[in-house]
């Protein structure tokens, strides 16, 4: 093994796993060292600082669990919304198609934060929806549903015309065509981006702190205002999100690899 191959990935190939692991470990520890040097120096990380935050570990814990709950519920609802809207966009009924298109464009064209503020303080208020958690899950589902709708639609459209022709010739009904032909093939196509969307959903749920839902981010902010500790509050916050999103990111990579071998 030459000296340069310790640094360079071979053209059109991969370096051995231990070399990649070594570099990952090195980069990680350098980053950690940098963090400690920069932030530890200015903000004075002390044993006492961590101790004062540790007392509020229950707040972190319940916030983290609430984030998971919100994400899971929103995932389910956004999948339902996404599926319905994707089908609506393919519908022959023009008003339905226009409505679906408007929904997707409005949601994708505005920031989530603006949607949260508008839907919670204006719409939810107007219809008398007081329950923050319910409103939060609905808003997040509406937001994510628009993106899922586009993914599902592209998945459906990725199924070749010849497959639909074949299904038609066999005598499948529309429902059977979706069930036996379109759904299994589309699902394969969109599984990796779907996993990515779920990771986004988890991260985006942090914005719900703005309307006072006691999820993970708000929990960290509350502990911060009680202890005046920043690093000790916000480092666990970042790590807590990574603990949720990294496994999903890994999963989507595995899925992608599997799909490549199967086709």
């Amino acid at each position: 093994m030459s000296f340069s191959s310790l640094f360079l990935s071979p053209r059109g190939g991969v370096s051995p796993w231990w070399l990649r692991a070594f570099w990952m470990a090195l980069v990680l520890s350098m980053t950690a060292l940098l963090c400690v040097l920069v932030m530890g120096g200015t903000m004075g990380v002390t044993r006492a600082g961590w101790d004062s935050v540790w007392k509020f570990r229950g707040v972190f814990w319940s916030g983290w669990l609430l984030t998971i709950l919100i994400s899971l519920l929103s995932l389910v609802f956004s999948c339902l919304i996404g599926l319905a809207v994707a089908l609506a966009r393919r519908s022959r009924l023009l008003p339905l198609r226009s409505a679906a298109m408007l929904y997707v464009e409005v949601i994708r064209g505005t920031p989530l934060l603006a949607q949260i503020l508008f839907l919670f303080y204006v719409v939810a208020n107007a219809v008398g929806l007081q329950e923050r958690l319910v409103a939060g899950v609905l808003i997040l589902s509406l937001f994510s549903g628009a993106y899922l709708a586009e993914m599902i639609r592209s998945g459906i459209e990725s199924v070749p015309e010849s497959q639909l022709e074949s299904a038609k010739a066999i005598g499948f009904s529309i429902v059977q065509t979706y069930r036996f032909v379109i759904a299994p093939q589309a699902l394969r196509q969109i599984l990796p981006p779907l996993a990515g969307q779920f990771a986004s959903l988890i991260k985006d749920s942090s914005l719900l702190s703005i309307i006072g839902i006691g999820e993970f981010t708000l929990a960290a902010q509350q502990v911060n205002s009680a202890t005046y500790r920043t690093l000790e509050c916000y480092l666990p916050l970042a790590v807590g999100y990574l603990a949720l999103t990294l496994p999903i990111s890994l999963l989507s990579r595995v899925l992608e690899k599997q799909l490549r071998y199967e086709t």
């Binding site: 010849s162 038609k168 066999i170 086709t263």
Partner: protein, 247 residues
């Protein structure tokens, strides 16, 4: 069996792009064993096959089988389609199912057979077509010729009134083409009438009983295959045969 296509007009595109692919076409066949649709590209052969299969609705005209008109209402049209077997030019097998599943699914989902009967029938057909060892394979694991065999097995399993082949070998290399053509010739044993659109003149000559020659969206000539090849009556057919048989 009697097939009648009367005054069929099919237009593709709109505005200035409008093209009459079938132009008041009429075809009456007392179905022989094998009818070949021949003619130049763009002459309307495949479109006619798709109209007869119930996959394409013509702007004008009617198709009837044994004097019964092809229905236009979606549900009955679905029944009509499922009573025929279509084999397409490209590989239209479902890539996420094994060869066996591809063959038996229409039997349970469309023809209402129970799972055990469907499997037995699918396996029986596959065995007759030399696919016994490949039943458990996915389409991607099969060669082009084998895939086309599975497609034929799938079409035959539902015991169709007749089989329609839309250029069944145009996506295959010469060796596999020969293999699939040999199989289609063997299908005579099954007794199912066949309608085929093909570019393989040698094959059509050998296998077809009757020939319909299409050009410009019309049937210009319809004859016994031996007559047609020996003695084409229209100028267009003569020119066409001279061109394709030149090499």
């Amino acid at each position: 069996m009697k097939l009648e296509a009367l005054d069929i007009t099919k237009v593709f595109g709109s505005g200035s792009q409008k093209r009459r692919v079938l132009d008041s076409l009429t075809l009456r066949v007392d179905f022989p064993h094998v009818l070949a649709l021949l003619g130049p590209s763009g002459g309307g052969k495949s479109t006619l096959l798709r109209v007869i299969a119930g996959l394409e609705t013509p702007e004008e005209g009617t198709v009837s089988l044994d004097g019964i008109r092809m229905p236009s209402e979606e549900r009955s049209l679905r029944n009509y389609r499922s009573s025929l077997g279509v084999v397409f030019q490209s590989f239209n097998l479902f890539p996420h199912m094994t060869a066996l599943r591809n063959t038996e699914l229409p039997l349970t989902a469309v023809h209402g057979l129970d799972a055990a009967t469907a499997r037995k029938r699918a396996l029986g057909i596959m065995e007759r077509l030399g696919l016994a060892d490949h039943a458990g394979k996915m389409p991607a694991q099969l060669s082009g010729g084998q895939r086309q065999r599975v497609a034929i097995a799938r079409a035959l399993a539902s015991q169709p009134r007749f089989l329609l082949f839309d250029e069944p070998t145009s996506a295959l290399d010469p060796e596999m083409t020969a293999e699939v053509l040999a199989l289609i010739a063997e299908l005579r044993e099954f007794g199912t009438p066949m309608l085929l659109v093909t570019h393989e003149m040698g094959f059509a000559r050998k296998v077809a009983d009757q020939v319909a020659f299409l050009a410009g969206g019309r049937v210009l000539e319809q004859a016994e295959a031996s007559d047609f090849f020996a003695n084409p009556r229209t100028e267009e057919a003569r020119r066409f045969l001279a061109k394709v048989l030149a090499y």
